[in-house]
Amino acid sequence: MTAQQTAARPAVLSPSADKEFRDGLVEAIPYVRAFSRTLCGAKAAADDLAQETLTKAWAARASFQPGTNLKAWLFMIARNQFYSEKRRAWRSVAWDEELADARLIAPSGQLQHVELGDLKRALTKITPEQREALILVGAGGLSYEEASVVCNCAIGTVKSRVARARQAIERMLNGTGGDALPARGDVASGDSNELIDEAQRIADTGGAPDK
């Protein structure tokens, strides 16, 4: 396996195909930004990644299969780009600029609710693989199959990661199990090293191998 998946040869598409692709990119920008934010956490770094992703996608546009999910294809490029550069994922906390988020989320008809700040903290405590799978499927609207392509793993693996992520977050938000959330405000100090190590490990194994 090489790291060349997204480095396509010079694209030769008809002008109309180019325009169509470009329109697709424009529509996808908000989603690429959102997915990049989940990888990088901080807004500025995420937007840099999103722009790199779009640039790479444009360069590789001839290798995109029309009719397939452009969003998923862009997520894959973003992810490869993120891990190939060994950026430090979730160094402190994701969505760090708005961590103290007390908005309550309760779907209609539900008595249960969750504070978004608590959910963000919980997301920092699961493994990057689980987080990524959960976000792609649970928020990004990808099918398990599409997510498996993005993550470069089997569909069953995505399913089990999503399930484990959901269980872990549910336990944390309910304060049961051994891994309840730490007190508000001290998330980033100690445990983030573990996450960095894990992100690094993924970069070494699952992402684009480079020695």
Binding site: A34, D47, Q51, I105, V114, L116, L119, A139
Partner: protein
């Protein structure tokens, strides 16, 4: 064993896993639904942000400079 007298701290299920997880526990399902909605909200918050001008500038550059012949940067 079906009747637990409305004890609000009782956790259904116990050690025996007779049924698939989540299907017999409506409260767990409800919590998962809430988590799902929260995740969606976190993601959609960013999706709903207005796209910074940089992005449209970048795509405009694709249009002008990179059509067909692939110029060296």
């Amino acid at each position: 064993m079906m009747d637990n007298g409305g004890n609000d701290s009782a956790r259904p299920g116990g050690p025996a896993k007779a049924r698939p997880k989540g299907t017999g526990d409506s409260s767990l399902r409800a919590r998962q639904k809430v988590i799902g909605a929260g995740l969606k909200r976190l993601f959609d918050d960013v999706v709903d942000e207005s796209v910074p001008d940089d992005f449209m500038d970048l795509l405009a550059k694709f249009d002008d400079g990179d059509q067909g012949s692939g110029p060296v940067r």
